[in-house]
Amino acid sequence: MTVPCRTEELMIHIIAGLMAEGPKGETRHIGCGVLSPIPGSAALLTRHKAAAAGKTIKVSIIGHGAEPYRTDGGVDIFDCAGQGRLDYFFLSGGQIDGEANVNLLGVGDYPGTTARWSGSFGSAYLYFMVPRVILFTLDHSRRTLVETVDFISAPGTSAENVYRPGGPFALITPRCLFMFDREAARFRLASIHPGESADSIREHTGFAYDAPDDVPVTEAPDAATLALLRGEVAADIAGAYPKFAHDVLGAA
């Protein structure tokens, strides 16, 4: 049975579902960068669900102040990825294009003469090294999901000679879920959130993508999942994102 929920909660639920298993069997370690409350909540939801099944998933949230979610210093999360000890990470972007190139830097001529954002952070390394990187955005529009990014903070795919154990796995938006096909270097529409349609997705997406004839509707979380999300997960994510925990998940 499903119950009404916010779009953010739906996104968290979908991401957690993607991470229930890892690239090599069980999921061992999920990492989240700055400004990532939805991925952070998804990681915690995955962890809590695994814990209920007696399994331990490590979650590292950059900027989280409390055990067990903080990292062992700022270098550690990157070294972890280099060691192959990080299964999932998340990236967003002011622009994301159809080849899963991510732009965190700005618009216009370099270094961002039309709009300048914060910078590329760890993307130019983690996108290569983490087996499954999940992209996310809260703005599913032709402004963000573009045909070609103005600047490649981190490329979606690489030539065959480039060492790259990692790369894009999925893209979650407020409208739908795309999975990424690394061979084809294209997204494939995997499910559409309630209230959207194949046409509405096409209308708001600036890049070409593959889609099956019948696209399933995104499965909403059940009551137990929502209770877990609004309870223990909300309390935990408040250590990094108190405002998000309160405003979106209703944490006290």
């Binding site: 700055v34 700022g74 300048r116 910078g119 952070f121 993307s123 390394y125």
Partner: protein
Amino acid sequence: MQTTDAIAARIPDGAKLAVFKDRSCAMDVTRALVRRGVRDLHLVCVPTSGFQAELLIAGGCVATIETSGVSLGEIGPAPAFARAVKSGAIRIMDSTCPAIYAQLQAAEKGNPFAPLRGLIGSGILDTRPDYKLIQNPFAEDGRDDPIVALPALAPEIALFHAPFADEAGNVWIGRQPELKLMAHAAAETLVTVEDIRPGNMMEDETLAAAAIPAFYIAAIARAPRGAWPLPLPGHYADDEAALREYAAAAKTGDGLRAWLDANIHGAPASPAAAE
């Protein structure tokens, strides 16, 4: 023992100055630098920065910034930074976090460079002619295996704020080993602390593990709440109201000038100093 102003006085115009992320920042010294009107800093952000870089840029103190990102976190973008980069008022050397760490670690070890995976195909590589593509000398069977070589990065000065120092001049940094990396890579390290404790923390096995020995420290000043309005982990959180007030004011050039006049040029260094 030094004063905050004496610490700031050791940072000359044009210095290549390393600062740390968005916490444990020596903000009293930063304000003193803006007040003094230091010019042409080459700011090395380890590996990003927040309000500290924003304030130095807002104050006209920065010529070049080397960083993986500048933002005010949950509060939003860094307005003076974004304006200065867009207008070309400052030169930016964009990087990615592990590259800056690796460059500092190369300097720490006396290596001329460090290899790093990733980066190939990122626009960062196009904008950084000082990052070079080489062949992995250990590629199997002479396979083509390009890898990025990053030049060592040795700042002239590392500056940060720590929980406490001791009478012997050792500095306790807790769970922020990057501060030790900064001290090793930089020619000179300047520190402010909440407190100076008696004795020698190096004689305490538990404290010593997270201490930077006095040998690496050029000068220390006591500055209670010296990271304000940024947080000092384990001691105080950020002052979100103060940061939001800044962010709102700095949306326009006029608003920023008024904020600087009220909060820097005409104000004491920190709330504690005002008491």
